[in-house]
């Protein structure tokens, strides 16, 4: 089953998918972390700005107090003191907030403590300034001192606030630097990872689309081939069935249902279903064969009959095999052939054969009758006539003598007829032993047989070199005797017979109408004479048994000689032809296979 495609890519596809999924998980965890870092940084930033804001507020509150106090000292208007009074509250609120904001930072707490102390001192300085600026308690020197001290405190506060701000900023910067370092490393990394994951996915996609394409193609092929199988089953009158031994599921091909006289899928086949269709005579055989297939793994052809629903008997031939599929499960595969037509034809042929054998036997017994039973009385007639002494004949009447001689002639003719007939039937019935023979030798034998008549007619026979062929020697000899004898018999009066025998090699393809084309080369042997010839319209009929062109009285003969020639040549898978020009001569052409 080499046409089944291998889809190994499914495993590599799985690996690619797992890798891609891991990369994506990794990437998303990095993204998550980045997100969290960013969040923290912005929180930190907010934190820093808030501290900064609160410190500025603190600072501005202190400044408001300072401005209010100056205004009051200069104008002595109590309205200028309102911001100063509020500023204390503002300072306290900011402190509480700042304390909360810097709760996790001991350094800033300490700074805040110091700042708080400075601000307290500043407010003490304010009180003193107010006190010594009051006209009631005015003291120019102390006021100046406190004003200057306040100036210095103010600067210290500013300094401290700046320090705290700087510290926060440096924290922020530090954090941002770390964050930046992290962030600056990862984009390249994540992008490359992303690209890898993307390429993996693309690769997988390509593989999948390729597999799908191949699957589609094989699917198409499969559809075509299963269609073809179904068609060929219908045309070839055979069907298949599968029996999965593991799942015990049996499948019939569509044609199996049809062969059993049903429409496809008309019933669900089970183990015993098929046996129900088998003719009662053959049930045992088929059941045994079915069992044997499991143990032997193969089923030699079994021949049996099927009984259809409509009582019609069909002849089946089946074979099967035990297969193991790719998944390792065992499947019994079977093929059934409906051989009814062949079977019936066979029976007819057998009957004809029997008839032929019978008629052959009859022919053989006729042969026997002819050779013995017919000859026996004839021989006695001839012998008894030969025993009538000449002296007795002399005293007979003339007519009696004539009758006796006519009986003699008729008996002789009958003998020739019987002998020729026997010869004819023997050319066909006796065993045909092919022996490599020199045709020149056989021709010599034939000429020796005819010496008497050759000498009598002063005939000249010219022979070219004849081939060595595998032939039935005595038959070829007989062929030569008959052909030469024929020429001598039908020679022209007053002309010495001349017979020329020639041989050539020819190709069967050159004589497509008369020669067997399966044999390539033939020897064409021609017998040409200067005899009286015959009308060419008879060139076919002269080979037919008992066909004579001349009257018995002119040329005694039985009309069997040339029929024997034809039979002999046919025995050798050859062919014989005759042609003639009346008054000039005849040519007999014999083709014998090389």
């Amino acid at each position: 089953m080499k046409w089944i495609p291998k889809f190994n890519s499914s495993n590599s596809l799985r690996v690619i998918f797992v890798i891609a999924v891991f990369i994506l998980l990794f990437l998303s965890s990095i993204a998550y972390k980045h997100n969290r870092d960013l969040n923290e940084s912005s929180k930190l930033l907010m934190h820093t700005y808030e501290i900064n804001l609160q410190l500025e507020r603190l600072m501005s509150a202190v400044k408001d107090a300072e401005t209010g106090q100056r205004g009051y000292i200069i104008t002595r208007n109590a309205r200028f003191l309102t911001p100063y009074i509020y500023s204390r509250e503002k300072v306290n609120t900011s402190f509480i907030t700042l304390k909360k904001l810097t709760a996790d930072n001991p350094v800033q707490q300490k700074n805040l403590q110091k700042l708080f102390k400075l601000i307290i001192q500043r407010f003490v300085s304010f009180e003193n300034c107010l006190k010594y600026s009051d006209p009631k308690t005015y003291d120019k020197r102390r006021l100046d001192n406190h004003m200057f001290g306040g100036r210095i405190l103010m600067e210290n506060i500013r300094f401290k606030v700046d320090e705290m701000n700087d510290l926060e900023r440096s924290y922020l910067n530090k954090r941002l630097k770390i964050y930046d370092a992290e962030i600056s490393l990862s984009p390249l990394f994540s992008i490359s990872l992303f690209l890898v994951a993307l390429s993996f996915i693309l690769l997988a996609y390509r593989q999948i689309s390729r597999d799908i394409k191949r699957l589609k193609m094989y699917n198409k092929k499969l559809l075509i081939s299963s269609g073809l199988i179904a068609e060929s089953e219908a045309i070839g009158k055979f069907s298949t069935w599968q029996w999965d031994l593991e799942s015990n599921k049996i499948d019939y091909s569509d044609n199996q249902y049809r062969l059993l006289g049903y429409e496809p899928n008309a019933f669900v086949p089970e183990k015993e279903t098929f046996l129900n269709f088998v003719h009662p005579d053959d049930k045992e055989t088929v059941a045994k064969a079915m069992e044997g297939i499991i143990s032997k793994k193969e089923l030699p052809f079994v021949y049996y009959k099927i009984l259809l629903q409509n009582r019609e008997v069909r002849y089946f031939k089946s074979t099967g095999k035990l297969l193991t599929d790719q998944q390792g499960s065992k499947i019994l595969l079977g093929i059934n052939f409906d051989i009814t037509d062949e079977h019936l034809l066979n029976i007819e042929l057998q009957e004809r054969n029997k008839e032929l054998e019978k008629s052959n036997k009859e022919l053989a017994s006729f042969n026997h009758v002819a050779s013995h039973d017919l000859q026996e009385p004839l021989r006695k007639i001839q012998t008894f006539i030969s025993r009538v002494p000449e002296a007795d004949k002399a005293v007979m009447s003339q007519s009696a003598r004539d009758y006796i001689s006519k009986i003699e002639v008729s008996a002789k003719r009958m003998r020739v007829l019987i002998d020729d007939l026997l010869l004819f039937s023997r050319t066909n019935t006796t065993k045909k032993e092919f022996i490599k023979s020199n045709l020149n030798e056989l021709l010599e034998n034939a000429e020796a047989e005819l010496t008497e008549i050759i000498d009598e007619k002063k005939a000249v026979i010219t022979t070219s070199k004849l081939p060595k062929l595998s032939v039935i020697p005595y038959q070829i000899e007989q062929l030569f005797i008959n052909l030469i004898g024929n020429s001598l018999k039908y020679s022209q009066p007053d002309v010495f017979p001349q017979i020329t025998i020639e041989s050539h090699k020819v190709l069967s393809a050159d004589y497509p109408d008369v020669l067997e084309q399966n044999i390539r080369k033939f020897h064409k042997i021609t017998f040409t004479d200067n005899g009286m010839g015959f009308d060419p319209q008879f060139k076919e009929t002269i080979f037919v048994l008992f066909q004579r062109l001349h009257s018995k009285t002119d040329y005694p003969g039985t009309g069997i000689g040339l029929a024997i020639c034809k039979k002999i040549v046919e025995n050798h898978k050859g062919h014989i032809l005759a042609d003639s020009t009346p008054g000039t001569g005849s040519t007999f052409t014999v083709f014998l296979p090389d």
């Binding site: 050779s371 026996e376 004839l378 021989r379 001839q382 012998t383 030969s386 023997r426 006796t430």
Partner: protein, 149 residues
Amino acid sequence: MQKNALSILLADDDEDDRLFFKDAFEEIKIQTKVDFVHDGMQLMDHLMNPDNKLPDILFLDLNMPKKTGKECLIEIKKTEHLKNIIIAIYSTSSSEEDIEDTFIQGANIYIKKPSDFNTLKKIINEVVTVNWHYHTSGLNRDNFLLRLK
């Protein structure tokens, strides 16, 4: 009966043939003693009977009732004291098969029954006068079938 008379036995079921045979022997004027049996069974009984003198030449027809000439031929050639009898097959048949078979089985000569009385006389004369000792030593397929010119 003279001692040196040639002893001839003809096994033939045909009465006319036996008559021709007897007449022919009478006419060829050779000292012979001719006996007849009518079928194969009778022939074998005759040969097996120690009271009967064995023939010098046995003329054997092939087509006989009860036991055919071929069966007799095989039996004779198998029997130690009979196998040297000169056997001339004397049959109507001229089939190659019969000639071949009897030659292989050890017959000495094959005669096709002639259809002329004079030919019969010539044949009998030829067979009886031949030097059989010489003839058998040079026995071959070509001169097995007796042909008269």
